[in-house]
Symmetry: C2
Subunit: 382 residues, 2 copies
């Protein structure tokens, strides 16, 4: 199987990640922060080291302001529901994933909040203008993805956050596709809260995610045992305990730690450069295939992260992805949980076939992919 | 390190669990239910098989009514907040963990619900009487732990559920300490919703938990991408998608599957029998040590699961556990996130030292533990 589905989860995981997960079950087998014994303390230490690494990696506000979650969706729900009060207005982009859209839509359906969607355009100034026009006097929060999971657009996070803050609103970022793929600095980019998965660009195992914030007064979504202040029936106020109840995914966190180290060692800039080269090659190859519809005129590496969507005339995206699967190539067809993105690009009938390579994708992988798509387009492979 | 902290997380994990977690990162490395390719389908299959195993193990209501969570606390929050409406009344036992107490207390503090605590007594009839007396005409839900995580009391789940249902209330069970330790049948025991950790009695890795229910109309606590009905801005109504958003902890679930198989192969009854023998031996040994305070007169294996709490006169439980740690024995001192249990037993000053063996605890382990406690009690070991 040639894997072009790294936007769903990265594969293969580095050997060091796999080893760390495995070893954690011997070495850090105890529950961190729950018992005082050496084994538990050792586990707590490795969890803490992972917080420190994450904090450094995203130029965060300190390791206490990092809470581990099972995935990015859980982090986003915690952040969004943790900050909103009745009557608040929220702004989201037209490229948001259902992990942002659905919790916000659910709050709206309950009559708790209202929200607006601003259109992301090819032209940055137009995007910023649309964003500015979406504010109301009740706008408390803006939630924006760093990178579209369907079309790869990189959003102008720094400029958007400046607008949000000037309007007195919080600026939260969905880092699902951006983390480990493009450089993100919470402080420089003006991000109040960054939600990330551990298992995509950061190369950690599935079952990991985190919420990083700048001491934002988030109400907890989940309450429970924190191994601290046991006698208080209220959730502790201090971070990260306020947002971390119950036993953490220690094996996953140990794996994430190693994934982060791999990404740091190679460098996000190098990863991005390599993935851009790969994507550009695929893009140019696809452009030459008749019947293939791409949703960009040219490959601009400043504007896009390495996620490519395409379709073949007369075929549904899921038919194409099924054919590619039969040919031994894993991509994703369909809607990718992002209805707004398809509406804005007019792909709501067919969805798109999404190609998401990694920096480890080889020339040979690319050739196999392109040859197969060529054959499908001319009906030589069904 | 001799490990007597299995109530926090079981250790060591079976080799098959460790192998499954490791192999899952090669074999089931794709995101289940997100893409149609063979790799993703294979991953979805193994997740489904784990649901089936859990359903069989707990005599549940079908694998679609099982939702995976990161831990038992997350499952409890999902269940509790998923069923309650404004004005509802809730009943909990005096032995609940903060994973039950805190979410319910938080809802009360918001003015959303009210709740009562009924006392669990040595005498079952008295317990049932206390339970009955706690009902009001608004009682919608009862949440009861199967086993106290501090004193090991087994609660009369079947009788309590009968009362709850006769009063028209839902009966939810916290299986944190009971799952894999005592037999639990959702159907026979009348459990509407069972929340479990995967990493304690079921021998799976940390980072796993589940909520099993009998088609209870639970509102989702978290919304997001489910890989299904992408175009609907509302969370899908069908289970398990309604309660499962974002990427699952696939390596953890693969490990849990193997943990369940180990427990099934040995048999919960055999595990319980063995753990009871071990606990009885420790209990008898402790009884003979002057200055050791146990909180039971005799070891009754019908009434208690293998969790023993004790104290040594003149020492705080955390001092004792620190001394045991220095002697190479891992136990847990303190309050174990269960304030109500300590209030009802009068241990709110010192907490307790908790010994939680497993069926793999050896005679040698027991002797080392008892010898060390003896030395601490006579101040030969500090």
């Amino acid at each position: 199987m040639i894997y072009f589905d790294n936007a769903a989860t990265s594969y293969p995981k580095p050997q060091s990640v796999i080893n760390a997960v495995r070893n954690s079950m011997f070495l850090y087998g105890a529950n961190p922060g729950r018992s005082g014994h050496a084994f538990s303390v050792k586990t707590a230490e490795t969890v803490y080291e992972t917080r420190e690494l994450l904090d450094g990696f995203f130029d965060g506000y300190g390791s206490e302001f990092i809470c581990f979650t099972v995935n990015c969706t859980h982090a986003l729900n915690t952040a969004i529901k943790g900050i909103l009060n009745k009557g608040d207005h929220v702004i989201i982009s037209s490229l948001e994933h259902n992990s942002v859209t659905r919790p916000i839509h659910a709050l709206k359906e309950k009559g708790f909040i209202t929200y607006s969607v601003f259109s992301v355009c090819e032209d940055k100034e137009e995007t910023l203008e649309n964003f500015k026009n979406a504010f109301t006097r009740n706008t408390k929060l803006c939630v924006v993805t760093a990178v579209s999971n369907v079309f790869g657009n990189i959003l102008p996070i720094k400029e958007l956050s400046r607008v949000a803050h000037s309007m007195g609103a919080y600026f939260f970022v969905d880092g699902a596709q951006g983390a480990g793929v493009i450089p993100i600095s919470m402080k420089n980019d003006g991000i109040d809260c960054l939600c990330i998965p551990g298992h995509k660009g950061l190369l950690g195992p599935m079952g990991t995610g985190a919420l990083l914030h700048g001491n934002v007064d988030l109400k907890p979504l989940i309450q429970g045992g924190t191994g601290s202040s046991s006698f208080d029936l209220n959730q502790p106020e201090n971070f990260p305990e306020r947002l971390e109840s119950g036993t953490l995914n220690v094996p996953g966190i140990c794996g994430l730690k190693e994934g982060l180290k791999v990404v740091e060692k190679i460098g996000v800039d190098n990863i991005r450069k390599r993935e851009n080269e790969i994507c550009k090659e695929i893009f140019e190859g696809l452009k030459d295939i008749k019947k293939v519809k791409l949703y960009r005129d040219f490959y601009n590496e400043e504007l896009y992260a390495p996620v490519l969507s395409f379709n073949i005339d007369g075929l549904h995206s899921e038919q194409v992805s099924a054919m590619l699967d039969r040919g031994g190539v894993a991509v994703r067809g369909g809607f990718h949980c992002s209805p707004l993105a398809h509406i804005s690009m007019g792909t709501n009938d067919t969805g798109t076939v999404r190609i998401s390579p990694s920096f480890r994708t080889t020339k040979k992988d690319i050739n196999i992919l392109l040859n197969l798509i060529r054959k499908i387009a001319i009906k030589e492979f069904i």
